[in-house]
Amino acid sequence: MTQVVERPTRRGSTYPSARRLRARVRRQRAQRGRSLSLETLYVLVLTVAMAVALAGPRLGLALWPAQPAASADRVAVLLLLAGGAAGLVLLLRGLGPLFLSRDELTWLLPAPIPRRGLLLPALIRALTIGAIAGSVLALVGAARLAARPIAGADLAGWLSVGAAGGVLLALLAVAAQRGPGYWRWLDGSLPAILVVLGAAALLARVHPLPAPAAGAPPPLPVTIGVVAVTAALTALAVRGLARLPDARLYEPSATVGSYLDAAYAVEPSFLTDLRERRYWRRRALRTRPLLPRRRWLVPVQQDLLVLRRRGWRVAWLLAVTPLPALLTAGPRWLPALALVVGAGTAGGVTLDALRRDAAHPALLRLLGLTGRRAVTLRSIVPILLATVWSGLAVALLGLLGGLPPGPWWALGLAFGPTAAMLAVRRARAGQIDNALPLIDTPMGAIAPGPLMWLTNGADVLLFAVPTLFALLAPVSPAWGWVGAQVVLSALALAGYLNFGVDRRRPQV
């Protein structure tokens, strides 16, 4: 009889390369049928063509304006470039930057095949992202800081240095993935760097900083030197791939897989859940006692506990209160949008509990709370947070944003509860309803589910008309405006808590 079970592994066995296995999978998939149908290809090409036609000229002008930046704005350009570089490293760290697809994670990572070949495509992908982002930053910088006209060779020099710089940043992120303990400072300091850059940009608006002179192109030896160093470090990184522990690949691969799931299923709530899980997984908690005399405040006690544990999140939110003031240099709607998003985000710090109650009401039933009571009590901390945030942000807007004088701080405080209601509505939105019937339009049928999910809660902004109008016009808000905003916020709260939630059953 033939032996079914293979003999134990023998030493000296030869194993196929990852490249060979991937080629085999590709071949077998191709035999089953083309993964990219002509129809999909047509839609893709059409989408790209439309995007280029619609956004191309504007994007081109943003990348390469007709004139370089005025000397007063050069500091802001430098700060923007530095922020872009820090953001690139943050993005790469968020991706891993080395990750495998789910099928490769399951089938190839546990296989006894050479690691270098397995991870080389992932490294190439990370370095390509770095090179492209670095080139774009260099292009943006050269267009604004370099003396015009710029010769082709000089531009090539800028782009080469930018691409090499981007690759170096990607290599830094790869090194951080290999030794997260050693590189933890990188993850901790990057948001701080972004905040410092933002504060410097804000300072530059109030107190002009010395402007750098128009930049000369990088000398050829410097360009060659940077590219050579980058090549050498890349070679070292390729060599080090064999030593990358498998454990460091699992979480980034699962995260990127979830991102792709969310994109494929058009379900952003997956991402919120994933982010929450990742946040709390890294934290060591210690049980805190609840106050027995405050039984009726159980959800508030829980929210305060979570708030205490999310101290850093609150600190970051406070640090970005100048953001709407910073954005007054752009279109008028931008500070108003930043205010709504910022106050809503501040209000949402403790709303994960409500999100979970909405998705799985089993715990709410165990607690025996009606939907109305749960939502009312769980709105208290968000209202406080959103009110403080919007009060500070609008006060700074009034001081630094070039707005007409008036009691802006009071208007910001009055707007807070409305922003909190927006956050509460968003938390209860749950998953996108894909069961809704399609709507026929001249451009083809569209699914209303994602649109309704995106705009869920936006109607609350009708109760923020005094604040938004004062910012968009802009006009000086008298105390009457503040009074009107207080009344509207109170109406939004009372109306929602009376008519928008279940009064009898434990469901939100």
Partner: protein, 238 residues
């Protein structure tokens, strides 16, 4: 005549053309216990969901403490159910979850009851962990701890023994017996004859959605235990 905790008459649940529960009748008196047994897909969980008002019957009636299960907060203050997996609160520890339920249920979280529960269910050393980090068996223990941390007139448990190791099952059975001894009622579904035997409660065997007919001298021949005092059951034809 004793007061009835759960009265189910002619219960029928149909999903499309699939009949999941057919002609199930039983009465569970206050302070009594009843265990639903049967193979996968026999309709045990659906019956429990009907009793807790989470599924609406196609036909028949369900009354819990004399009223339909309306799913109001007042209903859930008397009934505790583990018929679905909860989503745990992010940022709260294992112990804090149990204390939260105890406090919301009118108890004192610091009176030692939570400590005892976590201790006997083997969760004491995991009290500062988060539910996301627990194994599936430990999460089941946590769910039971939360369910038992507050007073309940009726416990509705769907396979409380599932994913538990052999050592902890008798402990859980002991806790449920304590609940019964305190005057509470218990309705559960189970796949483990040994667990049901330790619990010593009457059984109602379901088969493809309907109860098996009773033999002259005992329950259906499933070997899970006798139909004894505490519940009266009857069923239609298979």
């Amino acid at each position: 005549m004793s007061e009835i905790a759960v009265a189910v008459v002619g219960l029928r649940v149909t999903y499309g053309s699939l009949s999941v529960v057919r002609d199930v009748d039983f009465d569970l008196p206050v302070g009594g216990a009843l265990c639903l047994v049967g193979e996968n897909g026999a309709g045990k969980s659906t019956v429990l969901r009907c009793v807790t008002g989470l599924v609406e019957p196609t036909a028949g009636s369900v009354r819990v403490f004399g009223a339909p299960p309306d799913g109001t907060a007042a209903f859930w203050r008397r009934v505790v159910a583990t018929v679905e997996q909860p989503g745990w609160y992010a940022g709260l520890t294992v112990r804090e979850h149990v204390e939260l339920v105890r406090l919301a249920g009118g108890g004192d979280p610091a009176d030692g009851r939570v400590y005892d529960l976590l201790k006997v269910l083997g969760l004491h050393d995991l009290g500062d962990g988060t539910p996301d980090r627990l194994s599936s068996g430990e999460r089941q223990r946590l769910l039971l701890a939360a369910a038992l941390a507050r007073p309940a007139d009726l416990l509705v448990l769907d396979e409380p023994e599932q994913r538990l190791d052999a050592a902890i099952r008798p402990v859980v059975a002991g806790l449920l017996r304590e609940h019964l001894a305190g005057g509470g009622s218990l309705l559960l579904a189970s796949h483990d004859p040994a667990f049901v035997a330790v619990l010593g409660c009457p059984v109602l065997k379901l088969h493809s959605g309907s109860p098996l007919p009773q033999t002259a001298d005992g329950p259906a021949p499933d070997g899970t235990g006798p139909v004894g005092d505490g519940a009266s059951v009857s069923g239609g034809p298979v």
